[in-house]
Amino acid sequence: MTESAPVLRHPMSKYIREDRQPWIYCPGCSIGIVTNMVARAIDKLGLDFNKVVVVSGIGCSGRSSGYFKTGTYHTTHGRAIAFAEGVKIANPDLEVIVISGDGDIAAIGGNHLIHACRRNIDITVICINNFNYGMTGGQFGPTTEHERYSQTSPRPIGNIEHPFNLVKLAASSGSTFVARWTAVQARRATRSIERAIKKKGFSFVEIIGACPTAYGRMNRLGDGLKMHEHLLEVAEIKNGLPPHEAELEYESKIICGEFVDIEKPEYTAVLRAAHTKFKESI
């Protein structure tokens, strides 16, 4: 018998359900990187895994929750945030993290996003923005740039709509912590995710990622490696920039950093205080 070389375990594998691997993600996809960021943030904060709930919606990013050894809930399309709000209000001791994609969070679930920001419920939303619906083959979505090609915005015209800037959307809807990074800025992004989780209030972290299989191919952006190299090239770090200036132009400029970190009364705390006050009054 020959002895095979020892296989090193990934340092984050203690948080990951290895029996669910290999990942379903295509080569060159960013979702695995973001999954790692979240695992490292949880690790760094030393959270009790038993008290963490990872919630996701539908699509490629939606499959990320199932890889965590925490309590996870894979919801229906677009409803991750609404579901997560229920979890948090029912048991505010739980650390509730939503990981989902741009289509899920900002199109069909857009209404839930803005209202959760407004309510300021203490959950962390990590939106992996790869500019299209990957799982269904690459249709344009709410973050697809003008004139980009997709299955439903084919050549020669491309997308006639304009995208949301999710940082601006979350900030103006009332989110108390808003950051944006690209998938290649793993350490900075992980630190922001840590802060987002620690934040007592609604936190929104956008991670710009690559979908070489669908969006990259249809827009001739190169393979996964090339797309990630590009992200590194165009990322400009401007921490503390007013969120309305956090521009995102895929070709030339992706403003990254933490843009909002403010204090506001958090929903479940307000709810508890109101109950206490009411009880005292009778």
Binding site: P22, I24, I58, A107, M135, T136, G137, Q139, Q151
Partner: protein
């Protein structure tokens, strides 16, 4: 001749291409083909396969056995092994580590040959094709012409490369693999079929909609319906069709209703989860008597269920969806050709009766490919229903009429103010709470139903009309059920097949006759609860005697139905 191929591998490996090439070769030779795609809800990896069935008789369903398996991964070698016919062949890419070799296995250098002979690993598809044709003893020159045709537009170099790779594997297989299929096609003659158009059910729906002059499609992507939307989007510029991908399905149906109110034929496409979101708007379309067509490609539920698999479980949901009561029409095509016809009729019925029409497809219908005859679009007739004339007097959108249908006008029509509301309304479209008007408007809705019923197609009855046993099916279950009926009939069983494409409202004339004659009526459905049988009992008061239900998301086959018929004691 009845040969089945199973081509399996990971998502993204090109199994679709091998299947398409193979099917096209047999189509060009004059045979009937049926391709079913079995795939996982993921973009890369996993285990996917295509089943291609080729016959000199029309085929509408996959077979339960495979004559030839092409495997591009280990899973694809092992998983279908038990479904291989006794003298079948499994050809697999020889770089896969697989040591449990049996006489049926042939490790073929598909990638190596593609690289060496063609200079491009993409030509592995042609290599696989060469090996398949070789074990069938299919004359290579016949395939060569087809390959030249298929690859023709890609240039001479690609054509020659693919042919050379296919030929290399064809010869190598003949030399190195002694086993061959029981089907020896060395003396193959032209088959009886002249149908050349290879399309899926979804494409047939898209073509039907475009032939019916659809001018508006608003949809949100959802498997397995999305390709209908994509097909129409791709032709939107040429045919001047307004298309929009909305933020969700609520907006999708509402925009379609808006476009219809604005004067054009409109469609939305979705699957059950999306249809769930549309339910509010469905009632709104009904209350405002705005015609609209909804295509629901069903998949197993509830919730996200099995996104890329098949089920017929949204029938009763479609019959009852929305608060309140109103007429609606539900049509369920039996195969792609029927899909074209159904879609054209859906638009005509929607406008004629000013009601929502739901087309119930499913993943099996949506993704299966058949070769069809050319569709003569000039035979399509368009009936926009009652339109307001200038001399009607004051225009009232919801004017009370004997048949319940009020002439339509559109905002902007000179001299006509078009008013409607989701509240109970007067004839002129303004809100009222008057009980008499409420009753009049309810009667107006319900008065449409007898006229709709007259306009719907009767079910089809195949086989002897006075059989002792009747198989009852609807929608895409037609193919496998009909084949099961033929097999049993040839075996001497007294059996026929009653099938509904127009499922709601329910035409019951033939149903009553069949129930009166047959001692056993068996519902064959791809759901757990025999939803159509329940509908029959609710509407007609007749109960089937046995149930055959498949709900694992996989397609029906004739053999599966026959086995189940035995299991439930119907045979």
């Amino acid at each position: 001749m009845d040969i089945s191929f199973n081509i399996g591998g990971e998502a993204g490996q090109g199994i679709d291409t091998i299947g398409d090439l193979l099917a096209q070769i047999f189509v060009k030779q004059g045979f009937y083909t049926f391709t079913h795609k079995d795939f996982m809800s993921r973009i890369r990896g996993g285990y996917n396969f295509n089943v291609i069935r080729v016959s000199d008789r029309p085929v509408h369903a996959p077979s339960h056995k495979y004559d030839v398996i092409i495997a591009l991964t280990e899973d694809a070698i092992r998983r279908p092994r038990d479904s291989l016919v006794e003298d079948g062949v499994i050809i697999f890419e020889d770089s896969i580590e697989f040591s449990d070799l049996e006489p049926c296995h042939f490790p073929a250098p598909l990638l190596k040959t593609a690289r060496k002979v063609g200079g491009n690993i993409r030509m592995m598809n042609a290599a696989a094709l060469g090996a398949i044709l070789s074990v069938l003893k299919f004359p290579f020159h016949l395939a060569q012409d087809t390959l030249a045709e298929i690859f023709g537009r890609k240039g001479q170099k690609i054509v020659e490369g693919n042919i050379a790779v296919a030929k290399a594997l064809f010869d190598l297989t003949a030399k190195e693999f002694s086993r061959s299929c029981s089907e020896n096609l060395s003396t193959i003659k032209k088959g009886p079929c002249s149908d050349r158009m290879m399309i899926t059910g979804n494409r047939a729906v898209a073509l039907g909609a475009m032939a019916a002059n659809v001018k508006w499609v608003s949809s949100y992507p959802m498997s397995p319906s999305t390709s209908v939307f994509q097909d129409i989007v791709s032709n939107a510029e040429k045919l001047r069709i307004g298309t929009i991908q909305t933020e969700d399905e609520i907006a999708a149906l509402l925009m379609a209703i808006g476009a219809s109110f604005g004067g054009v034929r409109s469609l939305t496409t979705t699957s059950g989860g999306g249809f769930s979101l549309m339910v509010e708007a469905l009632g709104f379309a009904a209350m405002t008597e705005t015609p609209v067509v909804i295509y629901n490609a069903q998949r197993p539920g509830p919730s996200t269920g099995l996104p890329t698999r098949t089920e017929q479980s949204d029938l009763l949901f479609s019959v009852f969806a929305s608060q309140g009561e109103f007429p609606r029409i539900i049509l369920a095509p039996k195969d792609p050709l029927d899909g074209f016809d159904v879609t054209v009729r859906a638009f005509n019925l929607a406008e004629k009766y000013q009601v929502p029409v739901i087309i119930l497809g499913d993943q099996y219908f949506a993704d299966s490919v058949m070769n069809l005859p050319r569709i003569d679009v000039s035979t399509v007739s368009i009936d926009r229903g009652k339109l307001a004339k200038d001399d009607d007097g004051e225009y009232k959108r919801h004017r009370l009429t004997d048949d319940g249908v009020s002439p339509r006008a559109f905002p902007g029509d000179p001299g006509k103010i078009v008013v409607s509301t989701g509240n109970v309304h007067l004839e002129d479209g303004h809100i009222t709470e008057d009980p008499e008007i409420r009753n009049a408007m309810v009667h107006k809705f319900m008065n449409k139903i007898p006229f709709i019923l007259e306009d719907l197609n009767h079910p089809t009855l195949d086989g002897t009309s006075d059989a002792e046993m009747t198989l009852l099916s609807w929608g895409s279950s037609w193919g496998a059920t009909n084949e099961a009926m033929s097999i049993l009939s040839e075996d001497g069983v007294s059996i026929n097949h009653l099938h509904f494409t127009d499922v709601y409202p329910l035409r019951d004339e033939v149903l009553k006759e069949v129930f009166a004659r047959a001692s056993k009526v068996i519902a064959v459905e791809q759901n757990t609860l025999s939803q159509f049988a329940k509908l029959v009992r609710m509407e007609v008061g007749l109960s089937v005697t046995h149930h055959v239900n498949r709900y694992d998301g996989r397609p029906l086959t004739a053999r599966w139905i026959i086995d189940k018929l035995e299991e439930v004691g119907a045979l």
